[in-house]
Symmetry: C2
Subunit: 348 residues, 2 copies
DNA sequence: CTGAAAGCGCTTACAG
DNA sequence: CTGAAAGCGCTTACAG
């Protein structure tokens, strides 16, 4: 078991008196109908015995394929993205791919830096959650067609590309209808100030349903960097104060909801008696909250599987750069107490 | 900007009529006192102009250094580990190192698989959270001395190695004393059934303080795989039922606390009136919970910085394999409502 | 101060 | 069915 120096294909060649060409063919499964069974057996047995593993760096240098995928998430410490990352990791390893993670923080400059860093480092594929205002860069990257590029969590209308996303429009429509059906008359929307498709669709779904039902639309948009800050909280506070009619709040992201929940608590508003709450993206916090918070949950496993398997497939196909992989998955409405209608005379 | 094929050092050599040797020296900052200023300037200008970046795979093959660090976490989707990962990532990138993450799930077999996978792939350093019963493997890995090995979140007494950990004994002692000082007479401990130092110290700190104060020690140990299951919850339930005197619970991990919190809610026990609660490891959930849960929080940023900077330093030193990097950081007790003594006649 | 050449460990077109 | 040889893009001991 203890190896002085790593054994190489040349060592095997010398030891067995078989050319490196032949050995390489056998290792790479290209021996069929080319190499005699005896030789194959001999080589395989020896490899097995000494536990030889090809040097992947040399393979990369020679073939240009690194078996590496970069997952550029919005924020790898966000529970949603880290759950996705973990599921992908396992399948990638099974297929002998490595994944390198990084976070854009939803910042264009950071995403650009990261892209530059990895473009020069023989990476086979990118799975990217592009930040705000990054369309041109994405389009260029995809046009270059040097690596497989998979876009996650958002997508673009203007050009062809691979993507895996939630059906955010549909989810938002269902969420809003559900609140209306529960008897809430004045649903307010707390969203992100962003041109990303995800955010846009969540807003539009809400607007569409409100319009259909001849209800007044009321929304506040907070910028990404403000969500977890006092400024963000203040914006939501002012929104609620300005619109005292609001009896229900639809949050577009779980971070917004957390800020919102803190605020409602501070304001002494009771959920769902004074104001009902529904948010996108489940977290264990929401189930344990008092009262438990209703959510639209994303199918994390399914998303992760589509992402990594789609990427792996595109990597295999290799020569058909035009094949497109586009998946739109449905969200799941999880009803909990926070969005329930409490009858007026239900007090203790 | 648009490159047909990647430019190589040989291309530059031809173009400029300067040998690849000289160019390589210049690129690697080994030109000082060797190469004339004019040549250096000429090469640097040209590199700047064409945006040449050395092929890192070739460098790795030649030098044996890959500028890659593997972070083998217990579970990369756990908020604690993903927060650590994110902070390390940034510093690593700044130093042109890549990080590959993976999760052991606290399973020996999985850790072994992962180790085998990466040992054969020219990785410069491992940052590892070793699972249960993995001491021999860790000792062997460290003895081999092929890569820098940094142990995180736990450590071993029996052999020398680099590590970064929380002072779990001290934290547990302070936590238990704090509960006792708050007037809770019968503190129970909910821990993990594990031989990992972290778990052991948390238990021992509790036991030590209880003994010092001539209090009866009462604890239940749940195995890692059971924590999030009904079996785990049942174990805690039986523990509480068997020990009705318990007026305070110290949880050894945040997962245990979450299971415990669900249980206490189901049992209709009021926190802190019926039973007070304190747990290791903060999560945003705990602050928002009703009532807010007191915690011993780990200094995540500090831990991450020590980890990555320690690793990077060891990587630089390179030739002094015996230098040891050992950091033990203090936890912070964050008092919130869940551990407060409520005076008997405080009811509304 | 500078360069020719070997070699890291593979893969693959080519020849037989 | 099998092998000699070139080459991926670097770095570095050696020579001058």
């Amino acid at each position: 078991m203890k190896e002085k120096r790593k054994i190489s294909i040349k060592d095997i060649s010398k030891k067995l008196g078989i050319s490196t060409t032949t050995i390489s063919f056998i290792i790479n499964g290209k021996a069929e109908n080319r190499i005699s069974k005896e030789v194959i057996k001999k080589v395989e047995d020896y490899i097995e015995k000494v536990g030889y593993k090809p040097n992947s760096t040399a393979q990369t240098l020679r073939t240009g394929k690194s078996k590496t995928i970069v997952f550029m998430a919005e924020d790898i410490s966000d529970p949603f993205f880290s759950a996705i990352a973990k599921e992908m990791e396992e399948i990638a390893f099974e297929n002998s791919y490595k994944i390198i993670y990084c976070s854009t923080e939803n910042k264009k400059e950071r995403a650009l830096e990261l892209l530059t860093l990895f473009k020069d480092r023989q990476v086979d594929a990118f799975i990217i959650t592009p930040p705000e205002d990054f369309k041109n860069e994405m389009e260029e990257l995809i046009k270059e067609n040097k690596q497989v590029v998979m876009v996650f969590d958002r997508y673009y209308d203007d050009f062809e590309h691979n993507y895996v996303v939630l059906d955010n429009l549909d989810s938002s429509i269902r969420a809003t209808r559900y609140l209306l059906n529960n008897g809430f008359q004045n649903v307010g929307f707390v969203g992100l100030k962003s041109d990303i498709s995800t955010t846009q669709e969540r807003l539009h779904g809400y607007q569409q349903v409100m319009a259909e039902n001849a209800k007044k639309e009321r929304s506040v948009l907070v910028s990404f960097d403000e969500v977890k800050t006092p400024t963000g909280k203040k914006k939501i506070y002012e929104f609620i104060s300005r619109n005292p009619q609001i009896d229900s709040l639809l949050f577009a992201t779980n971070s917004l909801a957390i800020t919102g929940l803190k605020l409602l608590k501070e304001m002494g508003l009771k959920i769902p008696e004074d104001i009902s709450v529904l948010t996108f993206d489940d977290r264990d916090l929401f189930e344990l909250y008092s009262p438990p918070i209703s959510v639209i949950s994303q199918p994390v496993s399914h998303l992760a599987n589509e992402l990594i398997e789609g990427t792996l497939n595109l990597l295999e196909e290799d020569l058909k750069p035009n094949s497109r992989f586009q998946k739109v998955l449905k969200g799941k409405l999880v009803e909990r107490t926070s969005s329930q209608r409490i009858s007026e005379n239900n007090a203790i």
